[in-house]
Symmetry: C4
């Protein structure tokens, strides 16, 4: 195989192959990340931390220019990385040639990569405060890029997928419970607290806080019948939490077990 | 069997058979729902969404006549469906003839079907606000009708039934804990907060919020002894949640496992 | 055996034997409770409900004399039951004769029986409101008497006992976490909120509410460092809940499994 | 072995050996703690209780001199214990001689022992209230010293270590969820509640309270979009709690199982 490859070997091809091995996590034979990907992961974490901290006026006031400069530098670094990934993609038979590169650019990971760079260039022209906040939010998509480097996302996906029927039933039960409990509390409390329980959608806010046992306490029933029903709802909420909790824990535990057994098989071979 | 059936075949009987296959989920040989039942399920979800949204004055103000018209159309559709189900029930040997149809009409699912239609015709005359809200609530019984189309309800029922002893014990422990903790906090806090802890039934409101870890925080003990006891109650509450959570999760997980094994057996046959 | 018993049979002995079979749950050969014990269980539940409701002024005002009369009747009934139990105890070889009866009267169940009757006669002389509330609380000990009639209490006891090491470790970890987190939040918040966080015992109130995820929200940290630490505490709290939850759920599930297997063995024999 | 030891036996060496057996838990052949270590454990618990109670002005006012005297006595006792441990360490081949003693003094347990004594002598000169509180906190490190006497800490450590991959993934998911949910709520609520949701770090306070289902309720979204998103967050929070709960419970359960089997093997040998 090496022979047939070396026939069309050129300085560019060799350079591209090295780039591909550096950037593509699945191309490496040894486990773990390449140094380049470790640095990129670090930059993503740094960029996320900066995006989060930048929104806080107190922090931004300490070094206003630092955040602008750092963001520009990071956006540039990610732009270079994106171009490098597009070039290196040619090593993959699926993405060879110009048409292949376009196919690569519309692949999910490449779109996330691009979306993570764009906001910087778009925010330059934005004036509206809400739009600015929204664009910063898109910047946090960079965090999703870490998923490419991690097996854990795949494990989680398989765990959830393997129990999709159970989880769907749990969600259906949860939605039905939310509608029923908010409807009953609406009937019982609407006259006394029209602001908080004056309609079923309004009562949903209380229902979701109670059934998930979050219990903010900003709105609570005041009538005896309402409080009695709220108590029953809270007890039923335990059951509602029980199902997805048990299912997810078991699913994730199984997925980890499989991964461990697979790893042992790989080692013994 | 087909032969003996075809002997008394008439245009009406053939039409009724097709109606029966269209409407009765258990009559189908292939898995999944018939197109008719898919449409009915969709209409039920739509009707539920409308009932929920209609209660919100802000939403109703956007299109006051829309909700009235839509509700009338849906009530009519469900009425037609109900009549069709009564006619089609004749295909089932149990519900043949006029006496059979009456037997069908008092079967649980048929009563739920009827209860889901009636409120529309009853609300026409209702004047009291509370009665109106209650009738709207009965309309939400339509949601229960979805249960007829789903295996999940059966799975859930079997899961809960298989552990009824454990769940009963959990509930007994929960009720005993609620009475004991509300009695103790009543002794400790009644003098300081007569409004919230002046009697055991009043103290129950705090007990249920604490033992279920909902923790609204609208009423909390203020004396040192009360707070010490509240802390112990909160820690005991973890144990109270532990039992039904573990039991329900295991029960549901087992039920799913059985269904999966059964499905595999069915496929291999 | 019947023969040797019948030798000393007298009208009194036969009457006592019937009383013993009526009152002692473990003496019955067939499963379930005797009619007498069913009635006693019902009276205990009724007495508990009355004790709970009586504390509520609104309810008591509806029928002030009813509660006094009912309580007197129930106290009399339980007194008769207690005397009957002491007489019937003679059927048990351990409690034969006068010395045996005294041994019976200091056995745990008999003490609980007595404690459940006494408050009525003591409340007659009590004048202090707090003492009255406390005596009513002792009346609720009657609820504990139901434990005598139930296998579930034994199951629960065995489940908890089988995992006592794990549960002790969990409790130790919980206590250590409570002390550490309340100490740290005390250091961080004492200057800003001396009322709520001015000492470690005061900060414990916040710690226990956060680590158990109850989250009343009546006291919350206000400094950035305090809120950061509170967030970490809340996340650690999930782990603290995880351990006893998992342990108790597994223990109870195992105990139920054993009971079921035992029941199957008993049936097959 | 005893013979070769007795060759260099001197009154001092015999005395040191007895000291070593008294103080070093791992040196004992029989299970359980020596009487000396039981007393030390008791003193540690007493010292912890005193440190906690001393911070409460109401309690300190009851007996101001008691706390100072008790703390001085305990500090002296722990100083004596520390010196005794350093002397006894010579019995361990690793810590023989002066160089060995220095190696012992920088071992983790010895450093904790020292840190637990120092604050008493440092607080003598401290004047700043915050520094004083911090030094008292270090005194609570004594609690960690109990870990030396307990197998449970080792069990817990092994349980957590055996599932470190799963727990790391759970933590990563939790951190990602915290960042994403606080960012979205920041976009939705920043304009309406700048104090509570004006930046992502500020919104984190709400996120952590909601995702852990603590739900203080001191800050809650007020816009319809914010409340809708908060409801979704609360439901997702159940899943976030599910994973570490299930993992930790299973890990701890496995670790206990292993210990039990090991104990049975030890007994049968």
């Amino acid at each position: 195989m090496l022979q047939s490859d070396s026939q069309k070997a050129s300085p560019y091809a060799g350079w591209r192959r090295r780039l591909y091995l550096m950037l593509e996590p699945t191309a490496r034979e040894s486990p773990g990340l390449s140094i380049t990907n470790c640095i990129i992961s670090g930059l993503i974490l740094l960029a996320t931390a900066l995006t989060v901290l930048e929104t806080e006026p107190v922090v931004r006031a300490l070094a206003p220019s630092l955040f602008v400069t750092a963001e520009a530098a990071l956006a540039l670094a990610f732009l270079v990385e994106y171009v490098a990934r597009v070039i290196a993609a040619g090593e993959d038979p699926r993405y060879r040639g110009l048409a292949g590169r376009l196919r690569f650019m519309v692949s999910p990971w490449a779109i996330i990569d691009l979306l993570a760079i764009l906001p910087f260039f778009l925010t330059m022209g934005a004036v509206n405060a809400f739009a600015l906040r929204l664009l910063k939010l898109i910047r946090l998509l960079r965090l999703a890029r870490l998923g490419r480097f991690s097996n854990a996302i795949g494990d989680l996906y398989l765990a959830v997928r393997g129990r999709r029927y159970e989880l769907t039933v749990s969600l259906m039960v949860a939605v039905a419970l939310l509608i029923v409990t908010s409807s009953v509390i609406y009937v019982l409390e609407a006259s006394h607290q029209p602001e908080a329980f004056g309609s079923i959608p309004r009562a949903l806010w209380w229902s979701v806080a109670t059934l998930t046992t979050v219990g903010y306490g900003d709105v609570t029933p005041v009538t005896a019948a309402g409080q009695l029903f709220a108590g029953l709802t809270a007890i039923v909420g335990i059951g509602m939490i029980a199902m997805p909790t048990g299912i997810l824990a078991a699913a994730f535990s199984d997925a980890m077990q499989k991964r461990r057994e697979q790893a042992e098989n790989d080692n013994s071979e």
